[in-house]
């Protein structure tokens, strides 16, 4: 469904280049292939990632 464009963002934990889908949205979670961290998209312009928060007890459906 998603396609990658030539865009990456730096992993805030290990500084690896994280590929970012063209249709990325704020609030989405991406994975860093190098360190395995879950990264939440904080802003689109400029593109900024932050370590995603741990799942909270009241999260769900």
């Amino acid at each position: 469904m998603t396609t990658l464009k030539a865009q990456t963002a730096s992993c805030p934990l290990c500084e690896a280049a994280v590929p970012v889908p063209a249709d990325v949205m704020q609030g989405e979670v991406l994975a860093c292939d190098d360190c395995g961290a879950e990264l939440e998209v904080q802003t689109i312009d400029p593109l900024a990632l932050a370590e995603a928060p741990e799942v909270a007890e009241d999260w769900g459906e």
């Binding site: 989405e28 009241d58 769900g60 459906e61």
Partner: protein, 292 residues
């Protein structure tokens, strides 16, 4: 106009719903609940939005945001009453029982000793669930008295106060599967069977999915369960018992990413149609002010 589409972490479901809103040309604003500031004692009656659809991952945020918005006249999907009832298993059980919807034998207790008495009454195995929680987390099957004693003590000592609200339920041999039925605006629109070798069949726990026909008793019980909690956009979980179908729980922010392909039903489209259709017959959407 403005419909607020409130989110926290964006799941596949929210992306699909946003696509459907955009495809219909709906005027909406996406709102991050991390940035919400809702005035509980407002100086003016103007609400920031006319309507709000809350798809936050967090039950607490969803409930309080919805309560605050409804207090200012905002039409919310789902309503605060529905959110509160679905998000708390005790309230869900009470609502189902009050509407005579078949559900499982359940007791709520407040000490490990009382919970152990409940477990002894049900016999083993029986099940302990957190009153608030999802995705099958912290749901425990208690196979023996010793296991029950250990789990009850752990929850009482190590958990938050809510873990000392012991929701103890009979165990049902569910033939390796249970059903999830999506009920939108009172109508069962799609259903799946969730199958697993594990006694927890939740897809978040690795259960597999196949199409479930939503006619007859399945639609009847699912729609009755949805109505019992107040109706809206809901995902009802059903289990087959020797006495027929029983409602396990009703979800106010159901996940459907794994249910579209096997059912062939445009579930996000139906949800969006319900919201927009309700608003076209309801309050007039008006320009929003930059109030958060």
């Amino acid at each position: 106009m403005t419909l607020a589409f409130i989110t926290s972490r964006l799941r596949v479901e929210e992306k699909l719903l946003l696509q459907e809103l955009e495809a219909r040309g709906a005027a909406f604003e996406r709102v991050d609940d991390a940035r919400l500031r809702l005035d509980l004692v407002p100086e003016s009656g103007e609400a920031p939005w006319s309507a709000a659809w809350n798809r936050s991952l967090a039950f607490g945020r969803t409930l309080y945001a919805t309560e605050a918005l409804e207090a200012r006249g905002v039409t919310c999907f789902n309503s605060a009453h529905v959110t509160r009832t679905c998000g708390d298993k005790v309230l869900t059980s009470l609502a189902l029982a009050a509407a005579s919807v078949p559900s499982l034998r359940t007791e709520v207790c407040f000490t490990p000793e009382a919970a152990l008495e409940a477990a002894e009454r049900f016999g083993y195995p029986c099940v302990l669930k957190p009153v608030v929680g999802s995705w099958g987390r912290l749901v425990a099957r208690l196979d023996t008295r010793a296991a029950a004693e250990a789990v009850f003590e752990d929850r009482a000592v190590l958990g938050s106060w809510q873990h000392s609200v012991f929701y103890v339920q009979e165990y049902v041999e569910k033939k390796g599967r249970d059903a999830r039925v999506f009920v939108v605006g009172g109508e069962a629109i799609a259903g799946i069977w969730r199958t697993s070798e594990h006694w927890i069949t939740n897809t978040a726990q690795g259960g597999s999915v196949s199409r479930c026909e939503v006619g007859g008793e399945i639609a009847e019980v699912a729609e009755a369960a949805a109505a019992a909690v107040g109706g809206g956009i809901l995902a009802v979980d059903l289990v087959e018992t020797t006495n027929g179908l029983a409602a396990l729980e009703v979800n106010h922010s159901g996940e459907f990413r794994n249910s579209i392909a096997p059912t062939g039903v445009d579930i996000p489209g139906a949800m969006v149609d319900h919201v927009l259709g309700s608003l076209s017959n309801g309050p007039i959407l008006r320009p929003m002010e930059a109030v958060r």
